[in-house]
């Protein structure tokens, strides 16, 4: 059971409990603010006062990041003898049409994330732009999936609902309109 993929009704409630634990420790569940802390550590305060923050006050969240790296290692190397993600057959067909032959056979698409695929400059550009949009978008919106979709909506915040609607507008545009242009032949 532990070694099988965990069902949604196990994962969801566990995420809520972790969020509540952080609140009970006097903190907030939010992963994207760490991106700004990395900027501050890297000396971004020289460019704008926005990054002049007391890094010590952000340390707790960096420890959560450190933990999630450890968790990713344990999940992948100790708890997952079979890393295949059993996605819906409909999804597999759609992805194969876009050239993703690894659909249904891997955890991440090898076409984008295998080391061999890095010989294609297009893959570098895609990964960099994707990351840039994640970093810029979350900070502009003031939160990501953890800060808005989980924490904000749990606290019934209308701004978080607007942000989550935005997440879906962007995601749907990307997958339905842009994927055929980016990956289709």
């Amino acid at each position: 059971m532990l070694y099988q993929p965990w069902p949604w009704y196990v994962a969801g409630p566990l995420i809520a409990i972790l969020m509540a634990l952080l609140i009970l420790m006097g903190k907030r569940f939010g992963m994207s603010s760490n991106l700004e802390t990395f900027c501050s550590i890297g000396g971004a305060g020289k460019f704008t006062d926005y990054f002049k923050v007391d890094i010590k006050s952000k340390r707790w969240n960096l420890l959560v990041v450190l933990g999630s790296v450890i968790g990713g290692f344990l999940g992948a190397h100790w708890l997952s003898p079979n890393p295949t993600v059993d996605i819906s057959p409909k999804t597999v067909t759609k992805l194969q049409e876009l050239g993703f032959d690894s659909a249904g056979k891997a955890y991440l698409p090898t076409e984008l994330f295998s080391l061999e695929s890095l010989s294609d400059p297009k893959v570098w550009i895609i990964l960099l732009i994707a990351g840039f949009l994640v970093g810029f978008g979350t900070r502009y919106a003031g939160g990501c999936t953890s800060g808005h979709a989980i924490s904000g909506l749990s606290n019934l915040q209308r701004p978080s609902l607007i942000a989550v609607i935005g997440f879906f507008i962007g995601g749907l545009i990307m997958v339905h309109l842009l994927f055929p242009l980016i990956f289709g032949s």
Binding site: W8, L35, Y107, G135
Partner: protein, 137 residues
């Protein structure tokens, strides 16, 4: 001791998101295709319990573990930043197949290419910090 607790919470989160495949690019694509209930089940059940827990914390006026009162500030009121920022994030989320939490988790899982996504994300956060006074909020 507290430091260990933060590391432990992160580790548990990493295992949960990896094992539930919320950190898989394929699951994110599948979600935006509406081909499976899986991701909606994760977010939905997290919210169902999350709403109850947050309500309990607020109503019971329970103190934090270190004995301080807990206040959960409301999010700043605005429309532009949430819809525009949210949409930009959504574009990146679908393309990278990972939001910030899973990016760190996938580094630990040994998918080294995700470091390029992480560098892009830090550059994006930096660019926001530089431009923020010029952006509508």
């Amino acid at each position: 001791m507290k430091n260990l607790a933060y590391i432990f919470i992160g580790t548990f989160l990493g295992i949960v998101l990896y094992k539930s495949e919320a950190a898989s690019w394929f699951r994110i694509y599948e979600m935006f295709q509406f081909d499976s209930f899986h991701m909606y089940g994760i977010i939905g059940s997290a919210l169902a319990l999350g709403v109850v827990l947050v309500l309990w914390i607020k109503k019971s006026k329970v103190k934090s573990f270190s004995g301080e009162p807990i206040s959960i500030p409301d999010k700043e009121k605005s429309f532009a930043r949430y819809i525009v920022g949210g949409t930009l994030f959504g574009l990146g989320w679908a393309l990278a197949g990972a939001c910030p939490g899973p990016i760190y988790i996938l580094v630990g899982a040994g998918y080294w290419s995700i470091i390029i996504v992480l560098i892009g994300a830090i550059l994006g956060a930096f660019t926001y910090g530089v431009l923020r006074n010029k952006l509508p909020h």
